[in-house]
Structure formats: C-alpha cells, structure tokens
C-alpha cells in the first residue's frame, strides 16, 4: 500500500522502515519456502512482488526475469537484489538479500556442523555413502535437462557439436571451463560464426 502510485520510484523517507520490513518478510518467505534452488523459487518471487505487494506489474516482472536469465550468477539473488534496490535503494537491496540468503545458510552451517561431530562413526559414514547415489541421480536428471534444452534451442546437430567440443576440451584436454565459457562469450558477442549465418 505504501508504494501505491509510485511504483519503482525513490523510497519516501517516512515509510523506509515499513518498506524494509515488507522487503524482509517477502524475501524471507521466498528463501525459506523455495525448495530446489533459486530457479524453482521464481513463482514465489512473482507471488510476492506482483501479487502481494504490487511492487511491479506483470510486464515489468517478466522483463526483469528475462534480463536476469541472460546474465550470469544465481538467479534468486539477482531478482531479490534488484527488486529490493528498485523499492528501497541500496538499503532495500541489502535487506532483501539478507532475508533471502542468511536463514538458509545458517541452517546449512548448523546441520552440517552437527553431522561433522559424528564423522568416523561407522553408521554415520554409511549414511552419507547412501546419499551419494541419490545426488548422482539428481545431477544426472539435471544433465539430461540441460542436454534436452540445448537440443531444443540450438537444434540437435549444433547442440551435439557443442557438446562434443566441450567434452573434448574439458574432459580430455582438461582445459578449465572458464577458458571455454569466455571463448563462447567472445564468439557470440563479436559475431564470429562457425556454423553458418543463422541468427
């Protein structure tokens, strides 16, 4: 309600506390309810920023999301940091990020710390050994997801070529991924095309 009619404008001094309290509540909920990593929390961002608090319109939200997707880094922190910045300036940005990130990091530290205490005990070791294949399956599913999306967006011949090149460079020649990713960025941005002129 506070930002009514002034969406995305400078925060008003009198309402700064309320704005930051709202930002904290909104992104705390997103962080604590978003299972499955940042990208799966996108609908929660939408629910808070568009539906509940009316900080942005539908179009503004999807533009922000599209842009966030084209840039590197975790998607959730880009969304929270940017929305926080738009609504409450730099302080708002910090509030949003802290609310999003700190609770779950604390949970990690506390839970893993508790597990470490029992390291070396036989049944605890076999507990963690049993989790490894589960993680392998999750990663395998993610891998297939990325392969499928590559095929859909690039076409299978080009996707297969890029997959092959990546395997050769990273897994056989052991070139660091950084080199490959920067190379691709340069090729795309400078417009050199290996495989024809299709846009």
């Amino acid at each position: 309600m506070v930002t009514e009619g002034k969406k995305g404008m400078e925060p008003r001094a009198g309402s700064a506390l309320k704005i930051n309290a709202d930002l904290f509540a909104a992104f705390f909920r997103v962080g604590i309810l978003g299972f499955g990593g940042g990208p799966s929390a996108i609908p929660l961002f939408h629910a808070e920023a568009v539906k509940k608090y009316d900080w942005m319109t539908e179009d503004e939200f999807s533009d922000t999301l599209a842009l966030a997707n084209t840039m590197p880094g975790p998607i959730a922190t880009k969304m929270a940091g940017y929305i926080g910045y738009r609504i409450g300036g730099i302080v708002g940005s910090m509030t949003a990020l802290i609310a999003l990130v700190v609770p779950t990091v604390l949970m990690m530290i506390l839970l893993l710390g508790a597990l470490q205490q029992f390291k070396g005990v036989e049944w605890v070791n076999s507990m963690s050994a049993a989790v490894v294949p589960v993680v392998a399956v999750m990663l395998g599913v993610m891998t297939w997801d990325f392969v499928k999306k590559s095929g859909q967006s690039l076409g299978w011949p080009r996707a297969a070529l890029l997959l092959g090149i990546s395997v050769l460079l990273m897994e056989i020649l052991h070139i660091h991924p950084v080199v490959l990713i920067i190379g691709i960025l340069l090729i795309v941005l400078l417009g050199f095309r290996k495989g024809g002129r299709t846009a």
């Binding site: 978003g34 940042g38 084209t70 880094g73 975790p74 294949p133 392998a136 990713i181 920067i182």
Partner: protein, 177 residues
Amino acid sequence: MIYWSIFLAFFIPGILGYGGGPASIPLVEKEVVDRYGWMTTQEFGEVLALGNALPGPIATKMAGYIGYMEGGILGSFIGLFASIAPSLILMVALMMTLMKYKDSPKVKNITKMIRPVIAVLLGAMTLQFFMTSAETSGGVQTVVLAVLSYWLLEIKKIHPAFVILLALVYGGLSGLF
C-alpha cells in the same frame, strides 16, 4: 591468503554460471575440490545433498557454508559476497541499457551456447558421483539406490528432501546391522 582464495572460488562460478545457481554447481566443485582441495568429492556430495534438501538458493547455501568452513564467519561473508555482488551489480548497472536489447539474438545466444558446456560439466560430475559411490558402497548397492531414487524423484515426484532423508535412514540402518 585464504580469504582471497574464498573470494576467487565463488567469484568465478558466480560470474560464469549462466542459467542460475544450479548451473554454477559444477564450477564451484571445480574450484573447491579440484583447485583448492578444501573437500573431497564425497564431502562435496554430502554438502550438496544437504543443500538440495534445504530450502533457498543453492549457490548461496554452498558459498556461505564452504566459506564458513574455510574462513569462519568472515569467510562465509566473503563467499556470499563473491557469489552475489558481481552478478547483482552487473544486473543493476546494465538493466536500463540492456532492457532495450533483451530481444537481441546475440544476448539470447549467450545462454543457448553456454548450455551444452554446463551439460557436459554436470554429466562429468554425475559420472564422478556414481564412481565414488561404486567405490565406497559397491556396484550393486549403487545401482539399486540409484534406480530407487530415480523412481521416487522422477516418477513418483517425491520431494528431494524426503528421498535424501530415506537414503540417510537406510544408510544408518545398514551401517548398524
């Protein structure tokens, strides 16, 4: 200097991980396991499993926890800062200008072209986890657990948190008896 290493270990995945936090996980593993040797593949797997079972963005849970393990509270803060700040500053700074070009094929192509690279990195990690598991738990047990977790996760659509909990309980019991 440990803080500088922590900064670099999470700055590089943050700035190169196109496709959100999960896409940067193999890059984090590359730094944390291969380059700095802060953890073994198995330990990284445990942290990742717990990270996946808990809510919230995965990249920051990893950065915050690993930073804390290596450099205490300041290390945790530096890990978080390195994974969040560069991409966020980029986002805020470029928002206004790039808004005009968001439909440009070049900008869209970046995400498309990076995807196969991430796929290969994830595939290599998958293989590594299967191999670690076969070494520690044996081939048969690995296959049985993998098939069961695939069935639960992908066909039954059970939440990862429960599947991981089940695996923990099973592992604990099999270690006791």
